[in-house]
């Protein structure tokens, strides 16, 4: 029996290794590229022969990339905060209340989530130019919010539905005002949901290329994914491969930090033990 169990374990370890290797291979590739010297860039080695930080120094030399990084962080954070706050309130209402038009609201948000963004790019371009928000932060924050709100509402309402309603009643009987009940009982229990949603929304905003390239024209609001497309080599005959690789590595770091910071909060099953089961 022990042998069978061990074989089982080895099998799992092997599968995991293969899957992780498969997933991390491109990451390693781009990281390796970013550390390569321009002269060895195309030598086909997966391990740089000459390690250099030249590419990183290069992208931080001009304001083009740093400005884009500030835009990215600012726009993604603001859009995430607004979407999560609005989404939390909307999801709580969807999960807990009966109100006229609830089905329409859910249907509408699903519709928005399903809508292909590419078809909205041209109208948005015109609308934003008329409104004067083209190539500004709000010009990106608003469409990001629009597309991430349905995601936030869906994820969060699932979390709110998991929280037993009896807890809220118990808090009320224990002497809590509705605000206290929400702050002291419901919010702590919904926290994993809120953080999960925040990460999903942040990643969505952070990764977006379509809106970023279509709704910006200068470094005023251009985010990193769009800015990378405008990278140039030191001469017109040189490909900016090294800089692109370095920039790609840099923009992955905030996501990793974000997930590492909140992964402890994203523990499922926090509500277990509230009620029997």
């Amino acid at each position: 029996m022990a042998g069978a169990g061990e074989r089982h374990l080895t099998g799992w370890a092997l599968t995991n290794t293969v899957v992780i290797a498969y997933a991390l291979f491109p990451v390693w590739w781009i990281a390796a590229l970013s550390f390569k010297d321009p002269s060895t860039l195309t030598d086909g080695n997966f391990v740089p022969e000459k390690w250099t930080l030249e590419n990183y120094r290069g992208i931080f030399e001009t304001s083009e990339f740093t400005r884009a990084l500030i835009n990215s962080i600012g726009i993604a954070l603001i859009a995430t905060v607004i979407a999560v706050v609005l989404g939390t309130m909307a999801a709580y209402a969807v999960a807990r209340l009966r109100f006229p038009g609830k089905k329409v609201l859910i249907g509408m948000s699903l519709l928005i989530a399903m809508f292909p963004p590419i078809s909205l790019v041209s109208p948005l371009f015109n609308i934003e130019r008329i409104l004067g928000i083209f190539d500004t932060w709000p010009g990106l924050i608003i469409p990001y919010m629009t597309f991430s709100l349905p995601l936030a509402i869906y994820t969060l309402s699932a979390f709110f539905r998991e929280i037993p309603w009896d807890l809220e009643k118990a808090a009320k009987v224990d002497g809590a005002t509705p605000a206290q009940a929400f702050r002291l009982v419901i919010a702590p229990l919904a926290a994993p949901g809120v953080f999960t949603t925040a990460i999903l929304v942040f990643i969505f905003c952070w990764n977006d290329f379509l809106f970023a390239i279509s709704l910006t024209s200068t470094t005023r609001a251009r985010t990193v994914p769009a800015a990378i497309a405008f990278f140039t080599g030191s001469s017109q005959f040189q490909q900016p491969t090294g800089s692109i690789a370095a920039a790609a590595v840099v923009i992955t770091i905030p996501i990793i930090v974000f997930v590492l910071l909140f992964q402890r909060r994203i523990v499922a099953g926090l509500t277990s033990g509230a009620v029997k089961g």
């Binding site: 037993p164 009896d166 509230a274």
Partner: protein, 396 residues
């Protein structure tokens, strides 16, 4: 500690459904009152209205001589134990029990001593710093109780607090709740669908059906003098047997023989203008093996085929079937059958259960003689379900 007075309490939901109709009830200071009935009878809604978790459509609710209809739950000073326990999963047992005091801005040392006192009573001291997820069902139930008692509220409201426990633990907790309530002397309203709990726990029992109070009284009174068919069938385990009877002159013809009517019962029947077809109710306890009855005791002996004999050690239950049962089924009988799950078994005919002394020699599948104490019959009007032998109807 306080008196809870319900006057004409009515609940109508927005969709028009009438959940509770015109309930008048006074729960005395320190009294233990049970609301009992099948699911959907409005007992939990009534409790929620007392707690303030549901709006009252009509009527007045007074706690401690104060009208509280429009007061929020937090201003009513009542504690509630939920069927699901509703413990806050992110708080330890100590924090759970002290939560209400913390909201009331009681100082920390007082909270500590009160929580520890309650934990001692409920034998939870060693678990104070654990989270609910790490407790067993019985421990969680006790924490829920503890959360209520630390507050020393005007009243306890309990919504089926034992129904999530297994049978053995439920019996233990039942006696513990009873002891606790006597010790604290706090006014308690307790909701259950289990008539055994209702009978054993309460000072008084309120039987409800379809949002209407059927009868209020001590457990013994409800058992002896049920006002209608529903109360008769709901209270008592095994449930009362209902037999078809035809009124002829001064006797009732039933499958357990002809039963002569007492003068006051006959008068009651006349007053109520009773039909010829009636329903007779006989508790399983009214039957016995004729071999074990004193020869002089008045009663009927009849013969029947016993289908099943169940020996429980302390008692023997024997079952036989009334073959020519005409389904005069009133809505009460239908609901009782649904509640007991009898309508699900698909049994044909009408089953009668009798409780016999363990010394009986009656065997399964055999023809047997049974004796019935005819002085213990209840006679019901099938049209209204009214108990014609109830002492109020006898003019006694």
């Amino acid at each position: 500690m306080a008196e809870i007075v319900l006057e004409g309490i009515t609940k109508r939901f927005p969709d028009g459904a009438l959940a509770v109709r015109d309930v008048d009830l006074t729960v005395g200071d320190g009294e233990f009152v049970i609301l009992v009935g099948p699911s959907g009878c409005g007992k939990s809604t009534t409790l929620n209205m007392i707690a303030g978790l549901e709006d009252i459509t009509d009527g007045t609710l007074r706690i401690d001589d104060q009208v509280v209809n429009d007061k929020a739950p937090k201003d009513r000073d009542i504690a509630m134990v939920f069927q699901s326990y509703a413990l806050y999963p992110h708080m330890t047992v100590r924090e759970n029990m002290g939560f209400a005091l913390r909201l009331a801005k009681v100082d920390k040392t007082t909270i500590r001593s009160k929580v520890e006192e309650a934990a001692r009573i409920l034998d939870l001291t060693v678990h104070l710093d654990r989270k609910p997820a790490n407790l067993s069902g019985g421990q969680r139930q006790r924490v829920a109780m503890g959360r209520a008692i630390v507050r020393d509220p005007k009243a306890f409201l309990m919504d089926e607090p034992l129904s999530n426990l297994d049978a053995k633990l439920r019996v233990q907790m039942r006696t513990q709740i009873s002891r606790l309530q006597q010790r604290l002397g706090t006014t308690t309203v307790y909701v259950t669908h289990d008539q055994t709990e209702a009978m054993t726990l309460g000072d008084r029992v309120v039987v409800m059906r379809s949002g209407v109070v059927q009868q209020v009284g001590t457990p013994q009174y409800l058992y002896d003098e049920p006002r209608n068919l529903f109360v008769a069938g709901f209270i008592g385990s095994p449930a009362m047997n209902f037999l078809h009877a035809t009124l002829e002159e001064n006797t009732l013809r039933t499958i357990v023989g002809d039963i002569p009517l007492a003068a006051d019962v006959r008068q009651s029947l006349e007053r109520q203008n009773a039909p010829r077809d009636l329903i007779v109710g006989l508790r399983p306890e009214a039957f016995e093996d004729p071999a074990l009855v004193d020869p002089g005791r008045p009663g009927n002996t009849f013969s029947t085929t016993v289908d099943v004999v169940e020996s429980l050690g302390s008692d023997v239950y024997a079952y036989f079937t009334e073959e020519d049962w005409q389904p005069t089924a009133t809505s009460e009988l239908e609901e009782l059958a649904a509640d007991s799950g009898l309508s699900e078994t698909g049994a044909s005919g009408h089953q009668v259960v009798v409780r016999l002394n363990t010394a009986t020699r009656i065997r399964e599948g055999s023809r047997a003689e049974l004796w019935v104490d005819t002085s213990r019959i209840h006679v019901f009007d099938p049209r209204t379900g009214v108990n014609l032998t109830h002492h109020e109807n006898r003019g006694g």
